[in-house]
Amino acid sequence: MNIQDAEHEESAPNAPTLLINKLSCSLVGKTQVIKITPGSCAHQAYGVREVTEQFHCNYGLNPQFREKVGTGKLKITGVDVEGEARIVELSYHPFYFATLFLPQISSRPDRPHPLIVAYLRAALAFHNSRRND
């Protein structure tokens, strides 16, 4: 995005450009419904257009930067009902995701999380591609 002075409100509360700032409403211990962009890598991983995820955070993408993020190579591919960014992914990269929620906390032995399964599938493909080099 080429924002050279981007900062995080937790570690630099007085910085001029807070790309990540305190959420207007804390998401610690909360669950949200997230809408997934059709055709995205997230959609491919989940196989559905709407998911429910668990959060444990107080900071997120500053809504002032939402449009700027959407127009670059980093795409917002999961949003809550208010349209706030919950999943971002890099369009040109084989597998590059960030989530505001914690997929790992809802994973169970008999119900592994689909994003983490997709992540390891990408790791396996990467492993095999390097082995064949």
């Binding site: 995080h8 937790e10 570690s11 444990h56 955070c57 900071y59 890099l90 990269h93 084989p94 597998f95 590059y96 995701f97 960030a98 989530t99 929620f101 914690l102 997929p103 790992q104 906390i105 994973s107 169970r108 032995p109 119900r111 592994p112 999380h113 994003l115 983490i116 399964v117 992540y119 390891l120 599938r121 990408a122 790791a123 396996l124 990467f126 492993h127 390097r130």
Partner: protein, 95 residues
């Protein structure tokens, strides 16, 4: 024998403060079982990810995961490792 995947977890392992650190390890095992592979994961303290030689450390992994737990002991170290994953095409997830 199952294939083994090496995952580097960017973060300062502290399960007493961050309950999700244990979940991270467990979730990797759950997903690995589903794919009939095994995982060998290594937590990488952020202070160890500062400097010129992090590529040598990170290239041994098949994927990188940036764990919860801000503020990191070294934001610079965390960001350097995330940049490495982005620029070198390593599978990456940040949660």
């Amino acid at each position: 024998m199952n294939q083994q995947l090496k995952v580097g977890i960017i973060g300062d392992y502290d399960p007493k403060t961050f309950f999700s650190h244990i979940s991270t390890n467990e979730a990797l095992s759950h997903a690995a079982s589903a794919l009939s592979v095994s995982t060998n994961f290594t937590w990488l303290p952020t202070l160890s990810l500062v400097g010129q030689s992090i590529g040598a450390t990170l290239k041994q992994f098949d994927a990188l995961w940036c764990a919860p737990g801000s503020p990191y002991k070294s934001m610079e170290g965390a960001l350097q490792a995330i940049r490495f994953a982005r620029e070198m095409g390593f599978p990456f997830i940040g949660t």
